[in-house]
């Protein structure tokens, strides 16, 4: 008997129509806890739409999204993005969205939800939030130190390299104690060495915190070295799924990518 896998997220027959255009059609995926899952497919296959549905930017036209909050599954489709974030699901965007007038450390410090100093009444009395703030600063510095990036703490995003920006975006999730990361094309624009390094960071984060990643990526060669399992979307439908080696040899997948 194989060990039972705990799942963290599942979509059931999720469909999305935009004014009659079917963008997603009955997509069902399950994500095991602690896995690194790849989500691939040609342009326009609905990958980002699926992310948007999971993170609350779109409401699915049909179907449901289930998430294991503590021990039981709850439905999260229809919740607002900020409510979904509070369930410890963090996403990144195709184009990195760091806050440009905040330094790197502030970009990390802004992520934890429910900080005491975020209410107006507490904000004006700094004694109420000072202790918490110091602990958060310690944690943020610890995270930066872990990846040998202490020197960028006070830099603004405009002063960083693309690789560092992408790393900081992922580290924001770490700062917020995320359980599930949705990364949208984290490797776009990176050279091979940097892309490998970022993937290694992702593995490192997974191994030390037992968190789950879902990664959309077009650079399949690199992605396949990292992920445990792959879902392939094509024209809004689930085309194939399986271990990286199986998927890459699947004739349907090859056809979808390179044509007949």
């Amino acid at each position: 008997m194989s060990k039972e896998v705990r799942h963290i997220l599942a979509t059931r027959n999720v469909s999305k129509y935009f004014e009659g255009v079917k963008v997603l059609e009955k997509v069902s995926i399950t994500i095991p806890e602690g896995g690194i899952i790849g989500l691939i497919g040609p342009n326009g296959s609905g990958k980002t739409t699926l992310f948007n549905i999971i993170t609350g930017f779109h409401v699915p036209s049909e179907g449901e999204v289930l998430y294991r909050a503590s021990n039981e599954f709850i439905r999260i489709d229809g919740l607002n993005p900020h409510e979904i974030y509070r369930l410890r699901i963090v996403r990144t965007f195709q184009l990195p969205r760091l806050f440009h007038s905040l330094t790197v450390i502030e970009n990390l410090l802004v992520t934890p939800v429910g900080q005491r100093g975020e209410s107006i009444l507490n904000a004006v009395r700094w004694r109420t939030w000072l202790e918490e703030e110091k602990n958060l600063v310690k944690k943020a510095l610890g995270i930066l130190a872990m990846f040998n990036k202490l020197e960028i703490a006070f830099k603004y995003p405009a002063q960083l390299s693309v690789a560092d920006i992408k790393l900081v975006e992922t580290l924001r999730g770490l700062m917020a104690n995320a359980r599930l990361y949705l990364l949208d094309e984290p490797l776009a624009g990176l050279d091979f060495a940097t892309a490998r390094r970022l993937l290694n960071f992702i593995k490192e984060i997974r191994n030390s915190y037992n968190v789950t990643f879902i990664i959309i990526e077009h650079r399949i060669d690199l992605l396949m070295e990292t992920v445990d399992y792959v879902y392939v979307l094509h024209n809004g439908r689930l085309l194939a799924s399986g271990k990286p080696d199986e998927v890459i040899q699947n004739p349907d997948v090859v056809k979808a990518y390179v044509g007949e």
């Binding site: 607002n80 993005p81 900020h82 969205r97 440009h100 330094t103 450390i105 107006i120 700094w126």
Partner: protein, 345 residues
Amino acid sequence: MIDITGFLINWLEYFAIYAILAVTLSLESGISGITNFGKVAFFGLGAYLGAIINTYLLLAISGVDVVKAPPYTAEGVIALIEISTLNPALVLGVFTLSILVSFIVTGVFGYLLTYPIIRVGSGFVGFTLLCVGEVLRGIYVNMEFVGGTNGMLGIPQPFIWLGIPMLSGLCYLLLSVTILALTYIVTDRILGSPLGRTLRSIRDDDIAALCLGKDVPKIKSKIFFLTSGFSGVAGTLYACYVSSVNPQMFVTLVTFNVWAMIIIGGSESPIGAIIGALILTLIERILPLIASLNEYLPFTPDYLRPVFIGLIMTIVLIKYPRGLISMKPPKFIKSAVEELIREAS
């Protein structure tokens, strides 16, 4: 001979009132990214609330029949002058009440107004608020009990019973500066707190902030409660200082005057807003002096105001594109972090 003390008191009084508006505008527009083109709506609402409370309530408490002698008639104004010189405790009490009421009412008005509209793009928020200012002015014009187009006169200045105009002016100035200081301290503390960081993140990218668990409309509306409340207080201070209100005092130009202040001073810094208010109110106060030399001037002084303000704005923006004072990172975080780095190494 120019009365220098009188000029200073008058200028600093206008400065204190406008600086409250500028500091709150820098908090809501410069730091939180809510485009408020309707500053005058809250300023005017506060002024009218102050006017109503300081006249109607004062008369009613003193036993004058406000139906027979409403404050916008000559009888009402005469009764008000009598009361305000004879009964200091009552005048001060009612004035304090009016400050509190206008803070709360204007604040709640700002909150209820912005909560539904804040979800649309910031440009639309700006224009909705701009319209609200104009609509409110239309309402004042058509409300008879606040005097319609003529407005109200004889709103008692709360220190008028001191007898010496300069002394009562000075007391009122001290009070206004105290309220300005309070506004500044609150704004500055918010800026240096985790809330300030969250506000800046929302201004930078509200979608990303939403993805990081920030309830953007709620946070913005809360800030708007605070800033509108202080604007309302500034309005009450203004109404009681000039002792009158009328709809023509609350035109859209007031809003853009305050915008000019924060653009010159630096929109992300409350100190910058105060400096901007200092410069522009000084110009506003000097212009009447120049205008009084009308017959010796080779040109009409009426157009000097836009020329001056435009010139200053252009020069400042060429030299300092982000205003005279640009934002500095909060002191506390930097020092705490440096300390921790020293400990680690």
